[in-house]
Protein backbone atom coordinates (compact mmCIF):
# COMPACT_ATOMS: atom_id res chain seq x y z
CA UNK A 1 0.00 0.00 0.00
CA UNK A 2 1.32 3.36 -1.02
CA UNK A 3 0.51 6.56 0.87
CA UNK A 4 -0.12 9.43 -1.50
CA UNK A 5 0.30 13.14 -0.98
CA UNK A 6 -3.50 13.40 -0.91
CA UNK A 7 -3.68 10.85 1.91
CA UNK A 8 -1.27 12.90 3.97
CA UNK A 9 -3.19 16.10 3.30
CA UNK A 10 -6.47 14.38 4.21
CA UNK A 11 -5.13 12.96 7.49
CA UNK A 12 -3.55 16.30 8.34
CA UNK A 13 -6.87 18.06 7.76
CA UNK A 14 -8.69 15.55 10.00
CA UNK A 15 -6.10 16.15 12.72
CA UNK A 16 -6.35 19.93 12.17
CA UNK A 17 -2.66 20.12 11.25
CA UNK A 18 -1.37 22.77 8.90
CA UNK A 19 1.60 21.38 6.94
CA UNK A 20 4.07 23.25 4.79
CA UNK A 21 4.85 22.00 1.30
CA UNK A 22 8.14 20.59 2.55
CA UNK A 23 6.51 18.83 5.55
CA UNK A 24 3.89 17.22 3.35
CA UNK A 25 6.65 15.84 1.14
CA UNK A 26 8.68 14.66 4.13
CA UNK A 27 5.76 12.95 5.90
CA UNK A 28 4.64 11.21 2.75
CA UNK A 29 8.05 9.59 2.48
CA UNK A 30 8.28 8.81 6.21
CA UNK A 31 4.82 7.29 6.42
CA UNK A 32 5.58 5.12 3.42
CA UNK A 33 8.77 3.83 4.92
CA UNK A 34 7.01 3.06 8.24
CA UNK A 35 4.23 1.19 6.45
CA UNK A 36 6.74 -0.68 4.29
CA UNK A 37 8.48 -1.82 7.43
CA UNK A 38 5.25 -2.91 9.08
CA UNK A 39 4.30 -4.74 5.89
CA UNK A 40 6.77 -7.44 6.92
CA UNK A 41 3.98 -8.75 9.17
CA UNK A 42 2.00 -9.62 6.08
CA UNK A 43 4.41 -12.48 5.47
CA UNK A 44 3.09 -14.27 8.55
CA UNK A 45 0.27 -16.77 8.16
CA UNK A 46 -2.49 -15.39 10.41
CA UNK A 47 -5.36 -17.41 8.99
CA UNK A 48 -5.84 -19.23 12.33
CA UNK A 49 -5.36 -16.18 14.53
CA UNK A 50 -8.37 -14.29 15.88
CA UNK A 51 -8.13 -10.50 15.61
CA UNK A 52 -6.60 -8.95 18.70
CA UNK A 53 -8.88 -6.52 20.50
CA UNK A 54 -6.44 -5.68 23.24
CA UNK A 55 -2.72 -6.08 23.79
CA UNK A 56 -3.18 -7.36 27.35
CA UNK A 57 -4.86 -10.76 27.76
CA UNK A 58 -7.50 -9.53 30.22
CA UNK A 59 -11.25 -9.21 29.98
CA UNK A 60 -14.20 -7.99 32.08
CA UNK A 61 -12.37 -5.49 34.24
CA UNK A 62 -15.42 -3.92 35.83
CA UNK A 63 -16.37 -1.70 38.75
CA UNK A 64 -19.48 -1.69 40.92
CA UNK A 65 -22.06 1.07 40.45
CA UNK A 66 -21.13 3.06 43.55
CA UNK A 67 -20.91 6.84 43.66
CA UNK A 68 -17.53 8.26 44.53
CA UNK A 69 -16.82 11.90 45.30
CA UNK A 70 -16.40 14.19 42.32
CA UNK A 71 -14.08 17.18 42.32
CA UNK A 72 -15.42 20.73 42.64
CA UNK A 73 -15.37 23.13 39.72
CA UNK A 74 -12.51 25.23 41.05
CA UNK A 75 -10.34 22.15 40.92
CA UNK A 76 -11.82 21.03 37.59
CA UNK A 77 -11.04 24.40 36.01
CA UNK A 78 -7.60 24.87 37.53
CA UNK A 79 -5.76 23.89 34.34
CA UNK A 80 -8.30 25.34 31.94
CA UNK A 81 -7.03 28.17 29.71
CA UNK A 82 -10.34 29.98 30.11
CA UNK A 83 -13.43 29.65 32.24
CA UNK A 84 -16.20 31.57 33.91
CA UNK A 85 -18.69 30.86 36.69
CA UNK A 86 -17.75 27.22 36.84
CA UNK A 87 -17.96 26.71 33.06
CA UNK A 88 -15.08 25.89 30.75
CA UNK A 89 -14.96 28.51 28.03
CA UNK A 90 -13.91 27.54 24.52
CA UNK A 91 -13.26 29.70 21.45
CA UNK A 92 -15.53 29.75 18.38
CA UNK A 93 -16.39 26.16 17.42
CA UNK A 94 -17.61 26.48 13.82
Amino acid sequence: MKISREDVEYVAALARLELTEQETQEYTEQLNSILDYAAMLERLDTSDVVPTAHAVPLHNVLREDQVRPSINHDKALRNAPDGEEGFFRVPKIV
Partner: protein, 482 residues
Amino acid sequence: MVVANNYEMVCGLEVHVELQTKTKIFCGCTTEFGGEQNTHVCPVCLGMPGALPVLNREVVNYAIKAGLALNCEIAEFSKFDRKNYFYPDLSKNYQTSQFDLPICGKGGLEIEVEGEKKWIGITRAHMEEDAGKLVHSGETISTSNESSVDYNRAGVPLLEIVSEPDMRSIPEVLAYLEKLVQILEYTEVSDCRLEQGSVRFDVNVSLRPVGEIALGTRTETKNLNSFSSVRRCMEYEVARQARVLDAGDKVIQETRTWDEGRGVTLTLRSKEEAHDYRYFPEPDLTPLVIDREWVERIRKTLPELPGARRARLQELGLSAYDAGVITQAKALSDYFDAALIHYGDAKALANWVMGDLTRLLNSNQCQVADSPISPERLAELLVIIDKGTISGKIAKSVIEEMYSTSKDAQTIVKEKGLAQISDEGALLGIIDNVLAANPQSVEDYRAGKDRAIGFLVGQIMKATKGQANPGLVNQLLKEKLA
Protein backbone atom coordinates in the same frame (compact mmCIF):
# COMPACT_ATOMS: atom_id res chain seq x y z
CA MET B 1 -47.32 3.89 1.96
CA VAL B 2 -47.46 6.74 -0.48
CA VAL B 3 -46.69 9.95 1.32
CA ALA B 4 -46.66 12.65 -1.34
CA ASN B 5 -46.60 12.94 -5.11
CA ASN B 6 -46.07 9.21 -5.63
CA TYR B 7 -43.03 9.02 -3.40
CA GLU B 8 -42.57 6.37 -0.75
CA MET B 9 -40.87 7.31 2.48
CA VAL B 10 -38.15 5.10 3.97
CA CYS B 11 -37.13 5.74 7.55
CA GLY B 12 -34.69 4.29 10.07
CA LEU B 13 -34.01 5.59 13.55
CA GLU B 14 -31.18 5.87 16.03
CA VAL B 15 -32.37 6.21 19.59
CA HIS B 16 -30.05 7.27 22.42
CA VAL B 17 -31.21 6.20 25.86
CA GLU B 18 -29.60 7.27 29.12
CA LEU B 19 -29.27 4.21 31.32
CA GLN B 20 -30.50 4.52 34.87
CA THR B 21 -27.26 3.81 36.72
CA LYS B 22 -26.16 5.68 39.82
CA THR B 23 -22.73 6.45 38.36
CA LYS B 24 -21.25 7.28 34.99
CA ILE B 25 -20.10 4.61 32.55
CA PHE B 26 -16.36 4.85 33.24
CA CYS B 27 -16.05 6.65 36.59
CA GLY B 28 -17.77 6.99 39.98
CA CYS B 29 -19.30 10.45 39.36
CA THR B 30 -23.04 10.65 39.93
CA THR B 31 -25.41 10.63 36.94
CA GLU B 32 -27.94 12.83 38.77
CA PHE B 33 -29.66 15.32 36.46
CA GLY B 34 -29.03 19.01 37.06
CA GLY B 35 -26.46 20.02 39.64
CA GLU B 36 -24.24 23.06 39.49
CA GLN B 37 -22.08 23.10 36.35
CA ASN B 38 -18.92 20.97 36.41
CA THR B 39 -19.51 19.52 39.86
CA HIS B 40 -20.26 15.93 38.73
CA VAL B 41 -16.83 15.57 37.18
CA CYS B 42 -13.48 13.93 37.88
CA PRO B 43 -10.19 13.39 36.04
CA VAL B 44 -11.71 10.46 34.08
CA CYS B 45 -14.77 12.22 32.62
CA LEU B 46 -12.75 15.41 32.11
CA GLY B 47 -10.27 13.39 30.07
CA MET B 48 -7.23 14.43 32.06
CA PRO B 49 -3.94 12.85 30.99
CA GLY B 50 -3.23 9.60 32.77
CA ALA B 51 -6.77 9.06 34.08
CA LEU B 52 -8.01 5.54 33.37
CA PRO B 53 -11.63 4.54 32.72
CA VAL B 54 -13.13 1.42 34.31
CA LEU B 55 -16.42 0.06 32.95
CA ASN B 56 -19.48 0.14 35.24
CA ARG B 57 -20.85 -3.43 35.59
CA GLU B 58 -24.43 -2.14 35.87
CA VAL B 59 -24.20 -0.54 32.41
CA VAL B 60 -23.49 -3.97 30.94
CA ASN B 61 -26.37 -5.50 32.95
CA TYR B 62 -28.81 -2.86 31.65
CA ALA B 63 -27.55 -3.18 28.08
CA ILE B 64 -28.09 -6.95 28.19
CA LYS B 65 -31.54 -6.47 29.75
CA ALA B 66 -32.65 -3.95 27.12
CA GLY B 67 -31.21 -6.17 24.39
CA LEU B 68 -33.17 -9.20 25.61
CA ALA B 69 -36.39 -7.18 25.84
CA LEU B 70 -35.82 -6.04 22.24
CA ASN B 71 -35.24 -9.61 21.03
CA CYS B 72 -31.58 -8.89 20.25
CA GLU B 73 -28.73 -11.36 20.09
CA ILE B 74 -26.32 -10.70 22.97
CA ALA B 75 -22.70 -10.81 21.83
CA GLU B 76 -20.37 -13.27 23.51
CA PHE B 77 -17.45 -10.97 22.81
CA SER B 78 -17.69 -7.21 22.72
CA LYS B 79 -15.29 -4.28 22.93
CA PHE B 80 -15.08 -0.50 23.05
CA ASP B 81 -13.59 1.78 20.41
CA ARG B 82 -12.60 5.40 20.16
CA LYS B 83 -14.62 7.57 17.82
CA ASN B 84 -12.39 10.52 17.02
CA TYR B 85 -13.75 13.99 16.38
CA PHE B 86 -12.98 17.54 17.41
CA TYR B 87 -15.87 19.06 19.27
CA PRO B 88 -15.68 20.41 22.82
CA ASP B 89 -18.75 18.53 24.10
CA LEU B 90 -16.21 15.84 25.05
CA SER B 91 -12.87 16.95 26.40
CA LYS B 92 -10.84 13.99 25.06
CA ASN B 93 -11.42 14.70 21.36
CA TYR B 94 -12.96 11.26 21.07
CA GLN B 95 -16.04 9.49 22.32
CA THR B 96 -15.67 6.06 23.85
CA SER B 97 -18.22 3.99 21.96
CA GLN B 98 -18.55 0.60 20.29
CA PHE B 99 -17.87 0.17 16.59
CA ASP B 100 -17.71 -3.29 15.03
CA LEU B 101 -18.48 -5.50 18.04
CA PRO B 102 -21.51 -3.99 19.82
CA ILE B 103 -23.04 -5.69 22.85
CA CYS B 104 -26.42 -6.26 21.14
CA GLY B 105 -26.88 -7.62 17.65
CA LYS B 106 -29.96 -8.18 15.51
CA GLY B 107 -33.38 -7.93 17.12
CA GLY B 108 -36.63 -6.10 16.61
CA LEU B 109 -40.13 -5.43 17.81
CA GLU B 110 -43.67 -5.64 16.52
CA ILE B 111 -45.75 -2.54 15.98
CA GLU B 112 -49.41 -2.14 15.12
CA VAL B 113 -50.75 0.68 12.96
CA GLU B 114 -54.45 0.83 12.12
CA GLY B 115 -54.88 -2.83 13.01
CA GLU B 116 -51.96 -3.98 10.88
CA LYS B 117 -49.02 -5.66 12.54
CA LYS B 118 -45.49 -5.14 11.30
CA TRP B 119 -42.06 -6.23 12.45
CA ILE B 120 -39.45 -3.46 12.70
CA GLY B 121 -35.91 -4.80 12.73
CA ILE B 122 -33.22 -3.57 15.09
CA THR B 123 -29.75 -3.67 13.57
CA ARG B 124 -27.75 -3.32 16.77
CA ALA B 125 -27.48 -1.56 20.11
CA HIS B 126 -24.24 -0.38 21.62
CA MET B 127 -22.93 1.25 24.79
CA GLU B 128 -21.26 4.64 24.76
CA GLU B 129 -20.70 7.74 26.85
CA ASP B 130 -22.92 10.81 26.65
CA ALA B 131 -21.35 14.20 25.87
CA GLY B 132 -21.36 17.42 27.89
CA LYS B 133 -23.58 20.42 27.33
CA LEU B 134 -22.60 23.53 25.40
CA VAL B 135 -24.03 26.98 25.98
CA HIS B 136 -23.27 29.35 23.12
CA SER B 137 -22.73 33.06 23.64
CA GLY B 138 -24.72 33.95 20.50
CA GLU B 139 -28.03 32.77 19.08
CA THR B 140 -26.58 29.74 17.32
CA ILE B 141 -23.29 27.90 17.31
CA SER B 142 -22.09 29.59 14.12
CA THR B 143 -22.87 33.11 15.30
CA SER B 144 -21.11 32.58 18.65
CA ASN B 145 -17.60 33.81 19.34
CA GLU B 146 -17.30 31.53 22.32
CA SER B 147 -19.15 28.74 24.12
CA SER B 148 -19.37 27.58 27.73
CA VAL B 149 -19.08 23.89 28.55
CA ASP B 150 -20.58 21.86 31.40
CA TYR B 151 -19.25 18.28 31.61
CA ASN B 152 -21.73 17.01 34.23
CA ARG B 153 -23.43 14.89 31.55
CA ALA B 154 -20.18 13.76 29.92
CA GLY B 155 -19.77 10.07 30.66
CA VAL B 156 -23.41 9.32 31.52
CA PRO B 157 -24.04 5.86 30.05
CA LEU B 158 -26.03 5.64 26.83
CA LEU B 159 -27.42 2.76 24.86
CA GLU B 160 -27.73 3.65 21.18
CA ILE B 161 -30.40 1.53 19.50
CA VAL B 162 -30.24 1.48 15.71
CA SER B 163 -33.24 0.31 13.70
CA GLU B 164 -33.37 -1.10 10.20
CA PRO B 165 -34.81 1.26 7.55
CA ASP B 166 -38.10 -0.63 7.89
CA MET B 167 -40.56 2.20 8.47
CA ARG B 168 -42.68 3.52 5.61
CA SER B 169 -44.88 6.16 7.23
CA ILE B 170 -44.88 8.65 10.07
CA PRO B 171 -47.48 6.65 12.06
CA GLU B 172 -45.16 3.62 11.79
CA VAL B 173 -42.27 5.68 13.10
CA LEU B 174 -44.32 6.97 16.03
CA ALA B 175 -45.65 3.47 16.81
CA TYR B 176 -42.07 2.13 16.84
CA LEU B 177 -40.86 4.91 19.14
CA GLU B 178 -43.78 4.55 21.53
CA LYS B 179 -43.30 0.79 21.74
CA LEU B 180 -39.54 1.13 22.18
CA VAL B 181 -39.82 3.72 24.96
CA GLN B 182 -42.56 1.66 26.61
CA ILE B 183 -40.32 -1.43 26.68
CA LEU B 184 -37.39 0.57 28.04
CA GLU B 185 -39.66 2.01 30.74
CA TYR B 186 -41.02 -1.43 31.70
CA THR B 187 -37.55 -2.96 31.92
CA GLU B 188 -36.47 0.02 34.05
CA VAL B 189 -33.17 0.41 32.24
CA SER B 190 -33.96 4.13 31.84
CA ASP B 191 -36.22 6.64 33.57
CA CYS B 192 -37.33 7.63 30.03
CA ARG B 193 -37.83 11.28 31.02
CA LEU B 194 -37.99 12.76 27.55
CA GLU B 195 -38.30 16.32 28.91
CA GLN B 196 -34.92 15.88 30.63
CA GLY B 197 -33.33 14.49 27.48
CA SER B 198 -33.12 10.90 28.79
CA VAL B 199 -34.16 9.65 25.35
CA ARG B 200 -33.10 11.37 22.12
CA PHE B 201 -33.88 10.51 18.53
CA ASP B 202 -31.96 10.75 15.24
CA VAL B 203 -34.19 10.36 12.21
CA ASN B 204 -32.93 9.05 8.83
CA VAL B 205 -35.36 9.75 6.00
CA SER B 206 -35.29 9.28 2.25
CA LEU B 207 -37.87 9.22 -0.51
CA ARG B 208 -38.07 7.03 -3.58
CA PRO B 209 -40.60 6.79 -6.39
CA VAL B 210 -43.30 4.24 -5.59
CA GLY B 211 -42.23 0.88 -7.04
CA GLU B 212 -38.54 1.76 -7.00
CA ILE B 213 -36.36 -0.72 -5.11
CA ALA B 214 -33.14 1.28 -4.77
CA LEU B 215 -33.11 3.62 -1.80
CA GLY B 216 -33.09 7.37 -2.34
CA THR B 217 -30.52 9.69 -0.80
CA ARG B 218 -31.20 10.17 2.90
CA THR B 219 -30.77 12.95 5.38
CA GLU B 220 -30.22 12.49 9.09
CA THR B 221 -31.84 14.92 11.51
CA LYS B 222 -30.23 14.71 14.92
CA ASN B 223 -31.16 15.20 18.53
CA LEU B 224 -34.95 15.33 18.60
CA ASN B 225 -36.31 14.90 22.10
CA SER B 226 -40.05 14.43 21.85
CA PHE B 227 -42.50 12.41 19.78
CA SER B 228 -44.14 15.60 18.54
CA SER B 229 -40.79 16.99 17.35
CA VAL B 230 -40.18 13.73 15.49
CA ARG B 231 -43.58 13.96 13.81
CA ARG B 232 -43.25 17.62 12.85
CA CYS B 233 -39.65 17.21 11.72
CA MET B 234 -40.58 14.26 9.49
CA GLU B 235 -43.57 16.06 7.99
CA TYR B 236 -41.28 18.95 7.11
CA GLU B 237 -38.41 16.82 5.82
CA VAL B 238 -40.63 14.59 3.66
CA ALA B 239 -42.27 17.64 2.07
CA ARG B 240 -38.88 19.32 1.57
CA GLN B 241 -37.35 16.27 -0.13
CA ALA B 242 -40.45 15.84 -2.32
CA ARG B 243 -40.08 19.47 -3.46
CA VAL B 244 -36.39 18.95 -4.24
CA LEU B 245 -37.12 15.80 -6.26
CA ASP B 246 -40.12 17.35 -8.03
CA ALA B 247 -37.89 20.20 -9.18
CA GLY B 248 -35.58 17.62 -10.75
CA ASP B 249 -32.83 18.27 -8.19
CA LYS B 250 -30.97 15.81 -6.00
CA VAL B 251 -31.32 15.45 -2.25
CA ILE B 252 -27.95 16.05 -0.64
CA GLN B 253 -26.81 13.43 1.85
CA GLU B 254 -26.27 15.46 4.99
CA THR B 255 -26.82 15.88 8.69
CA ARG B 256 -29.57 18.33 9.57
CA THR B 257 -30.79 19.96 12.71
CA TRP B 258 -34.39 20.63 13.77
CA ASP B 259 -35.32 24.20 14.66
CA GLU B 260 -38.24 23.68 17.04
CA GLY B 261 -39.24 27.36 17.10
CA ARG B 262 -39.40 27.82 13.34
CA GLY B 263 -40.51 24.26 12.60
CA VAL B 264 -37.85 23.65 9.94
CA THR B 265 -34.80 21.42 9.44
CA LEU B 266 -31.50 23.10 8.58
CA THR B 267 -28.18 21.88 7.20
CA LEU B 268 -25.75 21.05 10.00
CA ARG B 269 -23.00 19.55 7.87
CA SER B 270 -22.92 17.82 4.54
CA LYS B 271 -21.39 14.41 3.92
CA GLU B 272 -18.58 15.90 1.86
CA GLU B 273 -17.19 17.56 4.94
CA ALA B 274 -18.40 14.78 7.21
CA HIS B 275 -16.12 13.40 9.83
CA ASP B 276 -14.01 10.39 9.22
CA TYR B 277 -14.11 9.06 12.75
CA ARG B 278 -11.03 6.83 12.48
CA TYR B 279 -12.38 4.30 14.97
CA PHE B 280 -9.82 2.15 16.68
CA PRO B 281 -10.00 -0.25 19.66
CA GLU B 282 -9.95 1.56 23.03
CA PRO B 283 -6.65 0.52 24.61
CA ASP B 284 -7.68 1.74 28.09
CA LEU B 285 -10.55 -0.75 28.43
CA THR B 286 -10.40 -4.51 28.31
CA PRO B 287 -12.83 -6.43 26.08
CA LEU B 288 -16.02 -7.96 27.45
CA VAL B 289 -16.69 -11.67 27.46
CA ILE B 290 -20.34 -12.33 28.23
CA ASP B 291 -20.94 -15.95 29.10
CA ARG B 292 -24.41 -17.42 28.62
CA GLU B 293 -24.91 -17.83 32.34
CA TRP B 294 -24.64 -14.03 32.74
CA VAL B 295 -27.27 -13.56 30.02
CA GLU B 296 -29.62 -16.07 31.66
CA ARG B 297 -29.19 -14.38 35.03
CA ILE B 298 -30.33 -11.10 33.47
CA ARG B 299 -33.15 -12.80 31.58
CA LYS B 300 -34.62 -13.89 34.92
CA THR B 301 -34.90 -10.23 35.97
CA LEU B 302 -37.01 -9.28 32.95
CA PRO B 303 -40.48 -8.12 34.01
CA GLU B 304 -43.67 -9.08 32.22
CA LEU B 305 -43.42 -6.88 29.12
CA PRO B 306 -46.25 -4.65 27.89
CA GLY B 307 -47.33 -7.01 25.11
CA ALA B 308 -47.68 -9.93 27.55
CA ARG B 309 -49.52 -7.77 30.08
CA ARG B 310 -51.96 -6.59 27.45
CA ALA B 311 -52.65 -10.17 26.40
CA ARG B 312 -53.21 -11.19 30.03
CA LEU B 313 -55.69 -8.34 30.62
CA GLN B 314 -57.57 -9.26 27.45
CA GLU B 315 -57.84 -12.82 28.73
CA LEU B 316 -59.41 -11.37 31.88
CA GLY B 317 -62.14 -9.81 29.75
CA LEU B 318 -60.81 -6.37 28.88
CA SER B 319 -61.22 -5.07 25.34
CA ALA B 320 -58.05 -4.63 23.28
CA TYR B 321 -58.50 -0.88 23.61
CA ASP B 322 -58.91 -0.90 27.40
CA ALA B 323 -55.97 -3.29 27.85
CA GLY B 324 -53.88 -0.97 25.66
CA VAL B 325 -54.78 2.10 27.73
CA ILE B 326 -54.04 0.37 31.04
CA THR B 327 -50.66 -1.00 29.90
CA GLN B 328 -49.52 2.14 28.05
CA ALA B 329 -47.53 3.34 31.06
CA LYS B 330 -45.97 0.97 33.55
CA ALA B 331 -47.15 2.99 36.57
CA LEU B 332 -50.83 2.68 35.64
CA SER B 333 -50.41 -0.98 34.75
CA ASP B 334 -48.73 -1.66 38.11
CA TYR B 335 -51.57 0.17 39.88
CA PHE B 336 -54.14 -1.93 38.06
CA ASP B 337 -52.37 -5.19 38.93
CA ALA B 338 -52.07 -4.17 42.59
CA ALA B 339 -55.83 -3.49 42.75
CA LEU B 340 -56.60 -6.72 40.90
CA ILE B 341 -55.16 -8.72 43.80
CA HIS B 342 -58.00 -7.43 46.00
CA TYR B 343 -60.79 -7.28 43.45
CA GLY B 344 -61.29 -9.87 40.77
CA ASP B 345 -63.66 -8.25 38.26
CA ALA B 346 -61.06 -6.86 35.82
CA LYS B 347 -63.62 -5.25 33.54
CA ALA B 348 -65.33 -3.26 36.33
CA LEU B 349 -61.95 -2.34 37.78
CA ALA B 350 -60.76 -1.09 34.38
CA ASN B 351 -63.85 1.12 34.09
CA TRP B 352 -63.12 2.79 37.42
CA VAL B 353 -59.37 3.11 36.79
CA MET B 354 -59.80 4.56 33.30
CA GLY B 355 -62.84 6.61 34.28
CA ASP B 356 -63.14 8.25 37.67
CA LEU B 357 -59.61 7.59 38.94
CA THR B 358 -57.89 8.89 35.79
CA ARG B 359 -60.21 11.90 35.69
CA LEU B 360 -59.41 12.78 39.33
CA LEU B 361 -55.67 12.33 38.77
CA ASN B 362 -55.68 14.41 35.60
CA SER B 363 -57.73 17.26 37.02
CA ASN B 364 -55.34 17.42 39.99
CA GLN B 365 -52.26 16.94 37.78
CA CYS B 366 -51.27 13.99 39.93
CA GLN B 367 -49.17 11.01 38.84
CA VAL B 368 -50.80 7.63 39.39
CA ALA B 369 -47.86 6.56 41.58
CA ASP B 370 -48.75 9.44 43.95
CA SER B 371 -52.49 8.75 43.94
CA PRO B 372 -54.13 9.53 47.31
CA ILE B 373 -56.36 6.53 46.60
CA SER B 374 -54.25 3.41 46.93
CA PRO B 375 -54.99 0.37 44.71
CA GLU B 376 -56.21 -1.52 47.82
CA ARG B 377 -58.69 1.24 48.68
CA LEU B 378 -60.05 1.46 45.16
CA ALA B 379 -60.54 -2.31 45.25
CA GLU B 380 -62.34 -2.00 48.59
CA LEU B 381 -64.73 0.58 47.10
CA LEU B 382 -65.64 -1.83 44.31
CA VAL B 383 -66.12 -4.65 46.80
CA ILE B 384 -68.72 -2.67 48.79
CA ILE B 385 -70.54 -1.74 45.57
CA ASP B 386 -70.79 -5.44 44.71
CA LYS B 387 -71.98 -6.25 48.21
CA GLY B 388 -74.79 -3.75 47.78
CA THR B 389 -73.60 -1.55 50.64
CA ILE B 390 -73.66 1.46 48.29
CA SER B 391 -74.94 1.94 44.77
CA GLY B 392 -72.67 2.67 41.83
CA LYS B 393 -74.10 6.16 41.72
CA ILE B 394 -73.30 6.90 45.37
CA ALA B 395 -69.85 5.37 44.79
CA LYS B 396 -69.11 8.18 42.33
CA SER B 397 -69.37 10.73 45.12
CA VAL B 398 -67.55 8.44 47.56
CA ILE B 399 -64.51 8.23 45.27
CA GLU B 400 -64.39 12.05 45.08
CA GLU B 401 -64.39 12.14 48.87
CA MET B 402 -61.73 9.41 49.03
CA TYR B 403 -59.52 11.47 46.74
CA SER B 404 -59.87 14.75 48.60
CA THR B 405 -59.75 13.38 52.16
CA SER B 406 -57.56 10.28 51.70
CA LYS B 407 -60.10 8.39 53.83
CA ASP B 408 -61.19 4.86 52.97
CA ALA B 409 -64.59 4.10 51.47
CA GLN B 410 -66.06 2.35 54.52
CA THR B 411 -65.27 5.32 56.76
CA ILE B 412 -66.83 7.79 54.33
CA VAL B 413 -69.96 5.69 53.91
CA LYS B 414 -70.31 5.42 57.69
CA GLU B 415 -69.61 9.08 58.43
CA LYS B 416 -71.96 10.40 55.77
CA GLY B 417 -74.63 7.76 56.26
CA LEU B 418 -74.48 6.76 52.61
CA ALA B 419 -75.17 3.07 53.01
CA GLN B 420 -77.75 1.82 50.58
CA ILE B 421 -81.24 1.08 51.94
CA SER B 422 -81.74 -2.61 51.32
CA ASP B 423 -84.12 -3.12 54.20
CA GLU B 424 -87.47 -4.23 52.69
CA GLY B 425 -89.54 -2.91 55.56
CA ALA B 426 -88.03 0.55 55.34
CA LEU B 427 -88.38 0.65 51.56
CA LEU B 428 -92.01 -0.55 51.60
CA GLY B 429 -92.95 2.37 53.88
CA ILE B 430 -91.36 4.85 51.47
CA ILE B 431 -92.94 3.17 48.45
CA ASP B 432 -96.40 3.41 50.06
CA ASN B 433 -95.92 7.14 50.62
CA VAL B 434 -94.80 7.73 47.04
CA LEU B 435 -97.69 5.73 45.59
CA ALA B 436 -100.18 7.63 47.75
CA ALA B 437 -98.74 10.95 46.59
CA ASN B 438 -98.82 10.03 42.87
CA PRO B 439 -102.18 8.37 42.12
CA GLN B 440 -102.10 9.54 38.49
CA SER B 441 -98.86 7.66 37.75
CA VAL B 442 -100.18 4.55 39.42
CA GLU B 443 -103.28 4.74 37.25
CA ASP B 444 -101.17 5.32 34.09
CA TYR B 445 -99.01 2.29 34.86
CA ARG B 446 -102.02 0.08 35.43
CA ALA B 447 -103.44 1.38 32.15
CA GLY B 448 -100.39 -0.04 30.40
CA LYS B 449 -98.08 3.00 30.31
CA ASP B 450 -94.84 1.28 31.32
CA ARG B 451 -92.98 4.57 31.37
CA ALA B 452 -94.85 5.63 34.48
CA ILE B 453 -92.81 3.20 36.60
CA GLY B 454 -89.63 5.14 35.81
CA PHE B 455 -91.16 8.26 37.28
CA LEU B 456 -92.17 6.40 40.43
CA VAL B 457 -88.68 4.89 40.86
CA GLY B 458 -87.25 8.37 40.46
CA GLN B 459 -89.52 9.69 43.21
CA ILE B 460 -88.45 6.88 45.54
CA MET B 461 -84.75 7.51 44.85
CA LYS B 462 -85.35 11.19 45.49
CA ALA B 463 -87.07 10.45 48.79
CA THR B 464 -84.06 8.30 49.84
CA LYS B 465 -81.41 10.72 48.54
CA GLY B 466 -80.36 8.08 46.05
CA GLN B 467 -79.61 5.53 48.73
CA ALA B 468 -82.36 3.03 47.99
CA ASN B 469 -81.13 -0.21 46.44
CA PRO B 470 -82.39 0.28 42.88
CA GLY B 471 -82.82 -3.43 42.13
CA LEU B 472 -84.88 -3.95 45.23
CA VAL B 473 -86.98 -0.83 44.59
CA ASN B 474 -87.92 -2.09 41.12
CA GLN B 475 -88.82 -5.52 42.41
CA LEU B 476 -90.93 -4.24 45.33
CA LEU B 477 -92.64 -1.64 43.21
CA LYS B 478 -93.69 -4.19 40.59
CA GLU B 479 -95.06 -6.45 43.32
CA LYS B 480 -97.07 -3.56 44.78
CA LEU B 481 -98.51 -2.51 41.45
CA ALA B 482 -99.26 -6.03 40.25
